[in-house]
Symmetry: C2
Subunit: 342 residues, 2 copies
Amino acid sequence: MRDLTVAVVGATGVVGQAMLAILEERAFPVKRIVPIASARSAGAEVTFGGASHVVQALAPGVFADVDVALFSAGSGPSRQWRPLAAEAGALVIDNSSAWRMDPDVPLVVPEVNLAAAATRPKGIIANPNCSTIQLVVALKPIHDVARIRRVVVATYQAISGAGRPAMEAFEAQRRRVASGDAARADEAAEPTLGGQLAGNLLMEWSRDAATGYQEEELKMVHETRKILGDEAIRVSPTAVRVPVLTGHSEAVSLELERPMEPEEARRLLAAAPGVEVVDDFEAGVYPEPIDCAGTDPVYVGRIRADLGHPGGLQLWVVSDNLRKGAALNAVQIAEGVLGTRR
Amino acid sequence: MRDLTVAVVGATGVVGQAMLAILEERAFPVKRIVPIASARSAGAEVTFGGASHVVQALAPGVFADVDVALFSAGSGPSRQWRPLAAEAGALVIDNSSAWRMDPDVPLVVPEVNLAAAATRPKGIIANPNCSTIQLVVALKPIHDVARIRRVVVATYQAISGAGRPAMEAFEAQRRRVASGDAARADEAAEPTLGGQLAGNLLMEWSRDAATGYQEEELKMVHETRKILGDEAIRVSPTAVRVPVLTGHSEAVSLELERPMEPEEARRLLAAAPGVEVVDDFEAGVYPEPIDCAGTDPVYVGRIRADLGHPGGLQLWVVSDNLRKGAALNAVQIAEGVLGTRR
């Protein structure tokens, strides 16, 4: 297949940078890379394929001849510029929440529902939320066999999902706390974090007053159903930010239509695409976020019978939120749709 | 009532130190304080009532004339020395796990089941596990009205519960990570933590191979039932250590016999002893461990209808694991049994 012109929108952000790195790592057939960002970052340079590339501002004409546009620039730019990219004929894969629940936009995790990407009336495929992607990769093999009826999930989410300014604010907090300079941060001085995360836990996602849930939690409810294609799945979510740089972790309890023993779940998960089982309980082996950062799989451990729900299961699911939770999944969608995986 | 001779066993540890501070703060009627520790710490001095007191080694005779003995010295010393203290006529309140599930030993959280402390065939009252204490204080007012059938709980536990050497190891890790000297700790060099906790999550409690659960998780299963006096309550636990110094947090989902709206739960919790509701969702107000450390209440926030289980509830429960989770609860048991609260 011919090589492609690939635009990365948000190329200077943490996810955009991961997209560029992953396109290289996986030898995606790039003829020309078009790094794009907001006007503020235009003119900066990014590295790809051993060369520097000047970042262009989002503007009319920027998507001319672009075959694939990977968007990771937030909901505003996605809503504004996606039509231009699609009209230019590009396959648009969007990492924002702008289009995910649009019935005319497929929401895709390749290991789970690549087929849904075949029909895209708006010329766009949505990349799911980070906490949902790793969850559904772990749920899929169990759901196929035993029909998941309910998911109780408590997250332990890393800070890198909130972007580079949040990471930098967190690292500064961490240095202050470690040096004893200040045990507490001034909340108002931490707009990117919403408070002190070093030595603490936060829940600072947007809030939906009607339900009493954070948007981050509602994404796990609705996106999980859409990706697994089963509106009957009930989800009880709690989203918590922990003082970890990269690597989301999730404590998951599953209620199943047909009871399943942990051994069967372990076999199914070990054979599932994108999953790596890390689960030697007696040896104290389970997935730790620090080990998972920088790698591709969704790691599943602590696979056990649910003491509180006979026939149910409990799992511990960890993955790199920037890679499988964002950039890697977007590139995998492109590979799947275009058949470019080498 | 006459003033009392009070022994604190494990007086140099983090919980023992908190016990001494709390006895003072609450003006417990102490005539004489008897700080006790292992032979290794004997001869050290601790401060109480504005004076220094030499720490005695655990030895025969040390409990002579002692009215109340607060044990926080681990299961081994508790098993070995508790008989001596009880034979000397002391009321023994033990913070170890040694006696908690013994049917002849009451397991007491004063706000929940102080009456159980009236009968103590072995002369001992057990102080529950830290993660269980804050959980049952929050569950009690809901259970009384709506009968809790199932609890799914994922913990975010602070390091101070693991003792001072673990705290010091964690603080050293945190300094190394913050300064960029080492992103990773050598696991073998961290026997008190079991690995790297700075910037990471760990599950390093003792393991029960038969169930696939950590002992810390099984404590939440069995102690919750015993304290609430209801063997029908089913518990689905996950225990996780987070890089927080003090303050355990818990994401809790409740299934109830009789459905309950969040507003009713909020009213019941606001009126419950030992609970403080911190829950202004629209203003982004919820309990954070850093705010709760050093204080007494069990804080409950994020009180909401369970999206995944109609009629159920979800809560976020935070408390100081050294105070309500250990030292404060022990002192409150003594106050309740002896009627000494001034």
